[in-house]
Symmetry: D3
Subunit: 158 residues, 6 copies
């Protein structure tokens, strides 16, 4: 059986992530989605909230498990006995930093990373833009799972 | 008649922006240039100063109006009854984030964004580099309108 | 009033082109779609067929006119008294060669080019891939207007 | 069990391909490497030779099978009951055309494509450059499997 | 003393090449500009004409020598005892194929390649676009040295 | 004789920098490696430590001198009478901001910048990723000079 790790900030998880996980859940036996602490950014949602939103958003997929981490991604992959890491590829600007990260991760641990192309209809969705739009009262409900829309509405009441 | 919105940080406005606005002023009936608050950066010039520099720099163009905003760009476009937004395209690294932003803006509001290529002779000018060079006493007067050069000299006396 | 020129090879026209023209037809008073002879490629459809497919595909848009050309794009823009040229922007690899072309066109004629982002749901559609897939019996009918699907079926009977 | 298809021109197969297949053979149960006819290029080696070089170069990997095809890649994937297609990712310029191809392939067949980053030490190797260098007597033997070096030496005797 | 090789197709040489050679002639003791046979393209000007245009265009630079080659670039660099190769960098799309070529060249010969950024005011000029525009009677005289403009006018009389 | 300046943050210096300096030391008479204060980032190592690591890492190269700076890079180049600046080119995402910086630097001072491609085997190494991995106890000793590995071990004891 093949178990893969899908790590990210997920601040918040959006429909682009959702489609990628649905694809991966169809290809592999088990998908572990893990929300990490991102040392260089002040998150909108704390790690508890981000993990809760992952759990709520992927509840319908029986071979998807959600978790959190506060260490290196490759340590999570090894601890969870994942065969490899998967990352989404949406744009050229994602591609190079992800490729360098993949090479570094392989060099320090031997863990491989494979890339899954984003569904084109959601390729423009980015957590950073969702945070900005929601903050000024824009409606992002078509771009995020329902539990995330609810939390954004709570955080930024109109 | 066609009215377009040209939003940006303009911290400070430079000759690349100037050339783009001159092009747009020749193509469309009215161009509104709007300086926005950028939530993720500590600006060099505050919004009052940035709006003042816009006003001074575009005084010679009768169909250009300058303003400021502290909400979503698409709200400004709708409030000002603009037909669409225009953005400059200078480099590949601009292109993808601008394209995602354009798709998000259309998804939340229906407002379109069109891209105007920067004049090649000014395509390397960037507000970020102007701030860095001016801060250490470098001469950027060939890259900014005269009113901006004056304010930079005042801010960073040699 | 604003009249714009949308030139291309259109070998064949596909849904990505269609969506772009629908957007442009909503923003501008008149859109001229012009199929050109492309000196460096052996086309699948000759210029007569490509122009016919344009005519059939845009028949529902009253402010869109279709034509053909076998000279420089900027000459067409000037002959047709267009205010500027529009091109689609789908990907980074389009972007740079289009930007160079736009600068060259402006340098030789003064004619400006503006860029319209492709709708994300059709951004992966490319005429080259349509030709390849249709040639081997793949079904591309969801990616092209009906008149084009009919001609492809005729050209490559299954 | 997971079976994947790795299609390409392989004109000729080189060490970058080799390293990718070794990685895939470690991650998946079966890897099918398939040399295709490339309609738009005059190959250096014909399909018989390319398939023979694949066979010789991957003989040491028991879960790798080599084949050839002259139809759409997605038809091969379906005929061989592969779970998905894998492609190498070496550079940004690969990335976008591969991403469009992946989206088109999924749209016409439902078959997914995953991307495997090239080992950084071989990321600069390209079949096109190997053909050019070998043709003028340059030594490419450190960049290709031994059976390929032998055939290049035969083709371009010094 | 430092001697560098600047190889290219130069079909035809244009003002972007000229500015790069002027920069290199100011930095290094000797610059050798070499026009090569490009196996994959049907040139507009044959090698005799291209070499003649180089000679005419760089006659004003005393430490620039022009030549031609029909072998590998690295062989020319070694035969002419050049310290390294220089190439222009104009755009992202140049960058990756040039980087791969540089790595391949170093791997087969030990010869290094350094990159010189194009002057921004000429960064959009490309030989391919010059050929296309000249062919249809467009005026490219501001983008090429006078001897090249003369030959283009002769080749494509208006 | 040719003297070149290689400026950077070097927080910390790694094997990619080392290979570039070894290349430059083979091509030019003197290489000055200068660690700068980076106004926009909180460094891991302060300027004293970064300069010390440079000195230790390049002690084996007799024509390499190390220093520090807290002004504009072009001022250092002029003060040290360098013929030009060299920068590494590793990836497309480096390329554009470096190209803009090079154009700005030339515009304000006349100082040129040349680009040296990174050795492909170290092209994925980035100081930012080294800091992240070392911070969580990952082993980066194969990617940095020994003196840097020692300081990282001291800073982040396991």
């Amino acid at each position: 059986m093949t178990r893969v790790l899908y790590p990210g900030s997920f601040d918040p998880v959006h429909n682009g992530h959702l489609e990628l996980v649905e694809t991966a859940a169809g290809l592999f036996d088990e998908v572990i989605v893990a929300a990490g602490r991102n040392p260089s950014k002040a998150p909108l949602f704390d790690l508890d909230e981000r993990e809760a939103m992952l759990k709520e958003s992927f509840a319908h997929l029986s071979n998807v498990r959600t978790t959190r981490f506060s260490t290196l991604v490759v340590h999570v992959a090894m601890d969870e006995q994942c065969d490899f890491i998967i990352k989404g590829l949406r744009a050229v600007s994602d591609f190079e930093s992800e490729l360098h990260m993949a090479h570094m991760n392989k060099a320090v641990s031997g863990v491989e990373t494979l890339f899954v192309p984003s569904a084109s209809s959601s390729s423009f969705i980015a957590s950073k833009l969702i945070r900005e739009i929601a903050q000024y009262g824009g409606d992002v409900s078509t771009m995020v799972p329902a539990p995330v829309a609810a939390r954004l509405a709570e955080r930024f009441p109109s």
